[in-house]
């Protein structure tokens, strides 16, 4: 099985089997263009440690057939409730996936950006939903605390934001 070389943003070079890294739509496209060339593929937006984690994920899920296909909705899936889609994403999480997401926030965010850049929809869903779950049901202040975000609204802006969103309580 052919080995592909990837060069991360920090210069680190990682080799990975082609069939594993082809779960990334971005890499798949590059390989199609590049053909049989052995040149290393630059992955400028992703650091070495994050790239290594993404490859771990792809390696664990290498045998999941569904991950190879473009993510077209299954018949009826486009009609599923948002809850059903989330439930399915969560129910498809195995123990590896749960452990995979037990990282600090910074790493989670980096993984989202990496999954988006590398076009790996199941990974994007996994980490995306994980962060979305951390926002679920939280009040404004709770979200600021969880995500270490400073309130940079002026008092008028804050009042405006409250009014603009008041319709939610009707």
């Amino acid at each position: 099985m052919r080995l592909v070389s990837l060069v991360a943003a920090d210069g680190a070079t990682i080799s990975v089997e082609q069939d594993i890294i082809e779960q990334s739509g971005t890499i798949r496209n590059i390989l199609n263009d590049v053909g049989l060339s052995d040149a290393a593929i630059p992955v400028p937006n992703v650091s070495g440690p994050i790239l290594a984690r993404v490859i771990d994920y792809c390696r664990h899920h290498r045998n999941d057939i569904s991950r190879r296909q473009p993510q077209a909705p299954l018949l009826g899936e486009e009609n599923d409730s948002s809850d059903a889609v989330t439930q399915r994403a969560i129910s498809q999480m195995d123990e590896f996936d749960h452990d995979f997401c037990r990282v600090d926030q910074g790493t989670l965010f980096d993984l989202i950006l990496a999954a988006n850049f590398l076009d790996i929809p199941p990974l994007l869903d996994l980490v995306g939903y994980t962060v979305a779950c951390k926002m679920k049901g939280k009040s404004v202040q709770e979200m600021r605390d969880t995500f270490a975000v400073k309130n940079d609204f002026t008092p008028e802006e804050e009042k405006q934001a409250l009014e603009d969103n008041a319709w939610v309580e009707e």
Binding site: F147, K150, V168
Partner: protein, 418 residues
């Protein structure tokens, strides 16, 4: 590694793109609105068209209809807010029924165009033109269980009719001994509440030929309220036999699921009322011919003893296994089971007076007949049997007769309300 511990100013430095990816995955619009109040950065992304476009799709909102109804509205979030206001209290029903009818429309477009064409435009919403749904509410009092029903009529006000009889009934058709039944969905103008004993039922689907119907219980004795109030039922007046099909929302979702899953054949463009799969269906394949028997209880027949309608379908599914171009039906043999464990054999030549030929040119034959309790008090519970067919024709056989067996079919026994 502390998990939720606030990392130093990490979140503030993140690109908007990342927030989009997360916000798009929030289930609840309430959470999205909370995000909008966190800080300026979050507000820009949480209020964006991309994110609210995703939310509108999640809730199956008809964006074009909302633009027309909310004149001058701009931006996906405003459309959503306006939708939420217009359908206050009904938003969950809206999403649920839009989903169900969306699936029905797609299925019908591909499999049953007659049905698709017959679905009438819906009633206008409160205060809109024409035919506001408020008039429907005079007949159907608003309550959580009836919201799905009201919303269904907002999406499609029943089936269009050019005459009393609608050929392609939404809830199925059958033909039995020359009597055609087409159970069609009534428009709101034709809804009526009927009193049956201590029940009041709202009839929403009807066949004018056979008086077969579907209804929602809108009034019932206190002892049955918990189990039956607002349920879709068929109820036989004098005998008080009842079939409970659940709350309207659940009933219509299950029915559409059945259509989409192919559990109802579509023959000559009409939906077969009797399913081809389930507990009251027996099916087997012999020498490439599939024989399917499907039974249902007749609420529209005499209440004095129970009558069941059953439908038999023959279909050549594997011409190679059959080996000949055609077979002719010679005789039928039934073993009818009764509740006291007795059984009776019933045999006869042909079926419904015919000796049909099933051939590769016409590989499909169906007929419908009736089964009932014996007048002496024997109560029928199920039946099985076989058909004898001959390869070629009876006059010019191409081989010996063989049997098409039918496995035991359990009859759907209706509940009795005392």
């Amino acid at each position: 590694m502390a998990l939720d511990a606030a990392p130093p100013a990490v979140a503030a430095a993140l690109p908007a793109e990342l927030y989009m990816l997360v916000f798009e995955r929030l289930d609840s619009f309430r959470d999205l609105c909370e995000c909008s109040r966190v800080c300026r950065r979050w507000r820009t992304v949480a209020d964006s068209d991309g994110v609210w476009g995703a939310m509108l799709r999640r809730r199956c909102v008809d964006v074009e209809a909302e633009r027309r109804a909310q004149a001058g509205v701009r931006g996906s979030k405003a459309i959503f807010a306006g939708w939420h206001r217009r359908y206050r209290g009904f938003t969950d029903s809206y999403t649920r029924m839009r989903r169900v009818f969306g699936r029905l429309e797609s299925w019908a477009e591909a499999n049953c165009p007659l049905l698709r064409q017959s679905l009438a435009p819906g009633l206008g919403w409160m205060g809109d033109e024409p035919m506001p749904v408020r008039e429907l509410l005079d007949v159907v009092h608003d309550s959580p269980a009836m919201r799905d029903f009201i919303m269904a009529h907002h999406l499609h006000d029943g089936q269009r009719r050019r005459s009393r009889y609608i050929e392609c009934g939404m809830f199925g058709t059958y033909e039995c001994y020359g009597q055609a039944c087409s159970l069609s969905w009534l428009s709101s103008r034709m809804l009526q509440v009927v009193a049956i004993g201590r029940f009041r039922i709202l009839v929403f689907a009807l066949c004018v030929n056979t008086q077969n119907y579907l209804s929602v219980v809108v009034g019932c004795p206190p002892e049955h309220e918990a189990a039956l109030m607002h349920h879709v039922v068929q109820l036989q007046p004098q005998s008080h036999r009842i079939e409970d099909r659940g709350l309207f929302g659940d009933f219509i979702a299950a029915y559409v699921d059945g259509l989409v899953a192919g559990r109802h054949d579509v023959c000559n463009g009409l939906i077969s009322m009797m399913p081809n799969a389930g507990p009251h269906v027996g099916s087997s394949v012999t020498r490439g011919i599939r024989t399917t028997v499907s039974a249902m209880f007749c609420f529209d027949e005499t209440p004095h003893f129970r009558v069941y309608r059953y439908q038999v379908t023959f279909e050549i599914v594997d011409p190679a296994a059959l080996g000949v171009d055609s077979v002719q039906l010679v005789s039928r043999h039934w073993l009818i089971h009764y509740s006291n464990r007795e059984y009776i054999q019933a045999e006869g030549a042909g079926v419904v007076g015919e000796f049909p030929i099933i051939s590769t040119a016409e590989p499909y034959f169906r007929y419908c007949s009736r089964m009932r309790d014996e007048p002496e008090g024997l109560v029928v519970v199920g039946f099985e049997g076989r058909f004898s067919v001959v390869p070629g024709t009876i006059d010019a056989p191409l081989g010996p007769e063989f049997s098409l067996p039918v496995p035991y079919v359990e009859l759907p026994i209706p509940m009795e309300i005392l």
